[in-house]
């Protein structure tokens, strides 16, 4: 394994004393020039990078009320200092949300405020130099943009917005992160993050149809590029091959089948994830969003449904209409877009699905609220539906369900530790340590209620937990998809 120690799980959450600089070494691989140029950024650090970065900062602040208000408003009250999972897991004070913001704010103050121009020492303003850039690269890649800090800030300051801006500035001067930028390039040319071309996708879906038929004796289709289908399903590409994701995809297929809905996947827009958000690039985010619009138009669908993916749902729910709308060519009787959990929930409400909960009796379940679903989007037509609906779907599918402690679920949920474009092996130490608060909360329900499995509705969460659970002495298959539970419990065939 790696050259770091996995934190020990404590019976109750503890706020560690600060240890300055202990995570300063954590840096993801830098993107190669060809990756950078492919998505519209300079290949490597440009000569006059300081001036370009400072100008870019001004441009971003001029164009974002959030950034402008957040940079002005922080009073350093300390409310957020113990809220970030990366601080709780690493003790590095630069992982306290306010300190992370200050890496950015100190530069902003130096160049864009009266106090910082004339009294830099007094207000903690700093020149933008190579050391600051290195610090940015390290610590703005230790933020998973989960927004937990923004829940607790008296002014709603969202460190995610500042992380995104910092990454955008770094990309603009030629310093990009390999993992995110490589993926964005693939999604923009091939159509998905994994780089699966149409034939591979067709092959995979066919294989899944055979598996389902073998398992259940029922023919359930997973159509690809089917013109005239009613529903376009856009799902994270991890759903096409990895465990437990693929079991979720089988679940969606069974729900559509049983409800008699006609649907299709598009090979052109075969990716729900939108890593453009992680790097704060409006332009890259828009290019990816446009592919979904184009696919919907080309296939002539009436509805768009998203599969289980956290940040994808944020981009879909909150941004898609803005980035690629208006979607007035779709059926106005359905929300645009819809989450697969909403579809299943509606069908369950109408008693349109028969569920055998005992099919999941080999598991005692809990639910991990994904940050981008819980704090950055909604499901259903009521406030907080994103917390209620997935649980309702799970509880309709199993007999044994227990929630984790209140400080670790709902709007207070802890990130899995791998969100925000950090789900890469070069950041594994950060990912293991950052998952500590979630692991402690999980441990509690394991001990108290004999929980055996944790369900999630996000591809990043699922991949992260598969990797991280063994570090904490648990099994990688203890993380399951919500629609995997649906898949197990749903009764196929019968009347319709």
């Amino acid at each position: 394994m790696a050259d770091f120690e996995t934190p020990t799980l404590k019976p109750w959450p503890e706020i560690p004393p600060i240890e300055i600089g202990v995570m300063a070494h954590s840096k993801p691989y830098v993107a190669k020039p060809e990756l950078q140029e492919k998505i519209g950024f300079p290949g490597e650090l440009i000569d006059n990078w300081q001036q370009v970065a400072i100008d870019k900062m001004g441009e971003l602040v001029d164009n974002s009320r959030a950034l402008r208000v957040f940079l002005d408003s922080c009073v350093k009250c300390g409310a957020c200092t113990d809220k970030c999972h990366y601080y709780l897991g690493t003790s590095d004070p630069n992982n306290m949300p306010v300190a992370r913001q200050d890496l950015f704010r100190s530069v902003y103050r130096r160049y864009y405020t009266l106090a910082g121009k004339y009294f830099p020492g007094l207000v903690g303003a700093r020149d933008l130099d190579q050391d600051v850039l290195d610090e940015w690269y390290s610590y703005f890649h230790q933020c998973s943009q989960c927004r937990r800090c923004s829940v607790y800030c008296p002014y709603g300051i969202d460190t995610a917005e500042i992380s995104m801006a910092a990454r955008e500035i770094m990309d603009t001067v030629g310093v990009g992160q390999k993992y995110c930028n490589e993926i964005i390039g693939k999604a923009q040319t091939i159509g998905n993050n994994l780089g699966l071309p149409q034939p591979a996708l067709a092959d995979t879906l066919e294989g899944l149809e055979e598996d389902i038929e073998e398992d259940t004796g029922v023919t359930v289709r997973l159509p690809l590029d089917q013109h005239g289908a009613d529903i376009l399903l856009v799902t994270p590409s991890a759903d096409f091959f990895a465990e437990p994701h693929v079991d979720g995809l089988i679940g969606y297929a069974k729900v559509f089948h049983q409800a008699g809905l006609s649907w299709t996947i598009s090979s052109y827009a075969s990716e729900a994830a939108n890593f453009g958000m992680f790097i704060g690039s409006y332009d890259n985010m828009q290019i990816l969003a446009q592919r979904i619009r184009e696919a919907a138009l080309e296939l002539g669908v009436k509805r768009i449904v998203f599969g289980e993916c956290g940040h994808a749902w944020r981009v879909a729910y909150n941004f898609l209409n803005t980035l690629a709308g208006p979607f007035d060519f779709l059926d106005p009787n359905y929300p645009m877009p819809q989450h697969i959990c909403e579809v299943t929930y509606d069908l369950l409400q109408r008693n349109a699905l028969r569920m055998d909960k005992s099919a999941n009796d080999d598991m005692v379940l809990t639910f991990h609220d994904s940050c981008n679903v819980a704090r950055a989007s909604r499901m259903g037509d009521f406030e907080g539906g994103q917390l209620v609906i997935p649980r309702a779907v799970i509880q309709a599918s199993c007999n044994h369900f227990y929630d984790m402690p209140a400080h670790a679920i709902g709007e207070a949920t802890f990130c899995c530790g791998g969100g925000g474009g950090l789900l890469t092996d070069d950041l594994v130490e950060l990912r293991v340590k950052g998952s500590l608060p979630r692991m402690e909360a999980l441990k509690q329900v394991v001990d108290d209620h004999g929980v055996t499995h944790m369900a999630a509705i996000c591809a990043i969460c699922k991949s992260q937990f598969s990797k991280i659970l063994p570090y904490y002495g648990m099994q990688m298959d203890q993380i399951v998809s919500v629609h995997q539970l649906v898949s197990n419990a749903i009764q196929l065939g019968g009347e319709h």
Binding site: S64, R68, S73, C153, G156, D283, Q286, N321, F382, E411
Partner: protein, 244 residues
């Protein structure tokens, strides 16, 4: 007119102008800066009335801070509530006759000064004693607390230790308001108190005190959660330019 009177007359006009114009320009800038995307922190209200409710409780009861940290909430809320009472109590220097509700507030306002200082002291203690908060504090963060406490203490000093001629003070401020300038009472604590207040007014539009107008413009708090029902138009000039 004495030098002292001329100095304070000018100081208060300048400070008031900087405070009002500086703040107005900043608020205008907040209002004019575009919001490219919908980013409310959810669960968020799905109606405008709901957002009004959310903002009301955020601003009056510091809801988010209450969820976050009980100590900061207690000290912070006591300080702000007490400051409000103290400010209202000071209205008696600016209206003649004194409004009746301001008269009623007078005894309460006197206690509020102690509460205000206690709240500030609590916040400062956290800044000095909690390692995390100490780490994020700049000199200006300490100075701001020192300034506010010094204003409070000098005010209390005039009430309880060395009473100043408040009739003359009132005449001076009414004179400022009606451009009928009156002599400034030469009293050391009063000079100190008002110099600090002038400093606070001058600093306000250029410092973290901008959190006061800022909270009303925070998109994570004041946006309605309805992006599917109502398309949020891209108001980002760069994006609009590209699209056209």
């Amino acid at each position: 007119m004495s030098m002292l009177t001329i100095t304070f007359t000018l100081l208060f006009y300048v400070a008031t102008a900087v405070f009002i114009i500086g703040l107005a320009l900043r608020i205008r800038l907040y209002a004019k800066t575009p919001t490219p995307l919908r980013i409310p922190t959810t669960p968020a209200p799905i109606t405008a009335a709901g957002v009004w409710r959310r903002m009301f409780f955020e601003v009056t009861l510091f809801n988010s801070l209450f969820k976050s940290n009980r100590w900061i909430w207690i000290f912070g809320w006591i300080f702000h509530a007490a400051l409000l009472l103290v400010l209202l109590r000071h209205l008696r220097y600016f209206t003649d006759p004194v409004w009746s509700w301001v008269t009623l507030l007078q005894p309460l306002g006197a206690y509020a000064a102690f509460a205000m200082i206690a709240g500030l002291a609590g916040l400062w203690a956290r800044r000095l004693l909690v390692d995390r908060v100490r780490y994020i504090s700049s000199p200006s963060d300490h100075l701001m607390l020192a300034l506010l406490i010094a204003i409070g203490l000098s005010g209390l000093g005039m009430k309880y230790v060395a009473p100043t001629d408040i009739v003359a003070v009132k005449a001076f401020f009414l004179g400022l308001m009606y451009f009928d300038w009156q002599p400034f009472p030469p009293d050391t604590i009063l000079i100190l108190h008002l110099l600090l207040v002038v400093a606070l007014m001058l600093i306000f539009p250029f410092s973290k005190l901008l959190h006061a107008p800022g909270v009303f413009f925070s998109p994570t708090r004041n946006q309605i959660d309805n992006p599917r029902e109502k398309r949020h138009l891209p108001t980002r000039p760069a994006a609009v330019k590209q699209a056209s």
